[in-house]
C-alpha cells in the first residue's frame, strides 16, 4: 500500500489539493468538502435570484407531447369520419360510373383504416396504468388488431398522407369546373373523365 502511495504521489503535482490529499484518504471526502462549500455559495446565489420577472404561460396552453399526440390523433379521426360521411353523401347523389364507385370505395376503406388507427393511437397514449379512464376498456377489443403484418403497423405519416390525398381528391371532385362551367360532380361522366385526364396531364408535366 505504501509503495502504491509513493509511486502515485511522484506522478502528481504537489499543489493540487484534491489529488495530493486523495492519495491518503477517500477522494469522495475531499469532494464532499469542496462540494459543500460550493453548494453553500450556490444557495447564496439562488437566494439572490430574482424570480419575479418569470412569467409562466397559462397551464392550458402548455400541452405535453402526450396531449399533443392525443389531440392530433383525435383530429385525424374526426377528419376521417367527416370525409367518410362526405363520400357516402357524394356516392348517393353524384357517382354513377363503376370506376368512380371503386375509387371512392378504396378511398373510404383507406379512411376507415386511418380512423381506426387514429383511435388506437389515442388510447395507446395513456401515461400509465394508474391513469385509467372509462375508455380504457376499449384497449382489449382494439388489441385484436395486433396481428403480424398489420396495416396498423405502417408509420402514422403514411396515414396522414393518405388522408390528405383523399381530402384533396374530394375537393377536386367537388370544386374543379368542367366545360359547362359547373362543378365536376355536376358534370356528365364524359365531362368528369375529361377533367380528370387534364388534371393527370398537368400533374405528370409537373413531375
Amino acid at each position: 500500500m505504501n509503495q502504491k502511495v509513493n509511486n502515485t504521489s511522484e506522478r502528481l503535482p504537489l499543489n493540487n489539493t484534491i489529488l495530493s490529499k486523495a492519495q491518503y484518504g477517500d477522494p469522495l471526502d475531499e469532494l464532499m468538502t469542496a462540494w459543500q462549500q460550493h453548494s453553500d455559495r450556490i444557495e447564496q446565489i439562488a437566494g439572490q435570484h430574482d424570480l419575479s420577472h418569470i412569467k409562466l404561460a397559462p397551464r392550458l396552453l402548455v400541452l405535453s407531447s402526450r396531449r399533443r399526440r392525443i389531440l392530433s390523433s383525435l383530429a385525424m379521426a374526426l377528419v376521417c369520419l367527416a370525409a367518410i360521411v362526405g363520400m357516402v353523401i357524394l356516392r348517393q347523389h353524384y357517382i354513377s360510373d363503376i370506376f368512380e364507385q371503386l375509387f371512392f370505395a378504396f378511398l373510404a376503406l383507406l379512411l376507415f383504416v386511418t380512423l381506426i388507427h387514429s383511435l388506437r393511437q389515442t388510447f395507446s397514449c395513456r401515461p400509465s396504468r394508474r391513469h385509467t379512464t372509462p375508455l380504457s376498456v376499449l384497449r382489449f377489443p382494439l388489441s385484436v388488431f395486433r396481428f403480424p403484418f398489420s396495416v396498423f403497423r405502417f408509420p402514422f405519416s403514411v396515414y396522414r398522407a393518405a388522408v390528405i390525398a383523399s381530402v384533396v381528391v374530394l375537393f377536386l371532385f367537388l370544386a374543379i369546373p368542367v366545360q359547362n362551367g359547373r362543378a365536376m360532380s355536376h358534370g356528365s361522366p364524359s365531362h368528369r373523365s375529361a377533367a380528370l385526364t387534364s388534371v393527370s396531364f398537368v400533374l405528370s408535366h409537373i413531375q
Binding site: 489529488l19 486523495a22 469522495l28 460550493h38 450556490i42 446565489i45 439562488a46 437566494g47 409562466l56
Partner: protein, 154 residues
C-alpha cells in the same frame, strides 16, 4: 412559483453539473428544467418529497435537453447576473478540478453523485432515479471506485 423558489439551488446545481458551466448553456438548461417542472407540477401527487421529485424531473430534462428545447412552448426572460455569478463561482481552481472529474462520468452517474453529494437519503435517491435502494448503494460504491481510478489517472 413557491416550489421554484424552494428548488432554485437544486436546479442550479444540476445545470452546473450537466453543462460546461458556460452562462448561456446554464441559462438554457435552467429554462428547460423550469418549463418541465411547470408542465409536470399537476402530476405531483406527494408520493415522495418535493425535492426528490424536482431532482427526478430535472435529471430527465437535463439528459434530453436538446430534444425538449425545440418543443418548449415558453420563453423565460432571465437575468444575466445570476448566471455570471454562477460561472464565476465555478471558476475556482478547486471547483474546476471537481467538475473535471465529474465531467468524466456518465449522465446517470452524475445524477447519482449529485444526490450523494447533496446528502440525499438512499431511499429518496432510489425514488428520484427509479431504482432500488440496494442498487443505489451498489452504484455509489462503483462511482467511488471510478473516481478513485480517475484521480489516479489524472
Amino acid at each position: 412559483m413557491e416550489m421554484l423558489r424552494r428548488s432554485d439551488s437544486t436546479i442550479f446545481k444540476i445545470c452546473l453539473m450537466f453543462t460546461d458551466r458556460d452562462p448561456k448553456n446554464v441559462k438554457d438548461m435552467y429554462q428547460d428544467i423550469v418549463c418541465s417542472l411547470w408542465e409536470s407540477w399537476p402530476r405531483f401527487r406527494g408520493q415522495c418529497k418535493e425535492n426528490t421529485w424536482v431532482y427526478s424531473i430535472a435529471f430527465n430534462t437535463a439528459v434530453s435537453q436538446v430534444r425538449h428545447r425545440s418543443l418548449s412552448p415558453m420563453f423565460l426572460p432571465l437575468d444575466d447576473d445570476t448566471y455570471n455569478n454562477l460561472a464565476e463561482e465555478s471558476h475556482n481552481s478547486l471547483i474546476e478540478r471537481l467538475y473535471e472529474l465529474i465531467d468524466r462520468l456518465s449522465p446517470p452517474d452524475k445524477a447519482l453523485l449529485l444526490l450523494y453529494l447533496d446528502r440525499v437519503p438512499a431511499r429518496e435517491m432510489g425514488l428520484a432515479l427509479g431504482i432500488t435502494e440496494a442498487a443505489v448503494n451498489h452504484r455509489i460504491e462503483r462511482i467511488k471506485d471510478k473516481l478513485r481510478a480517475l484521480n489516479s489517472e489524472l
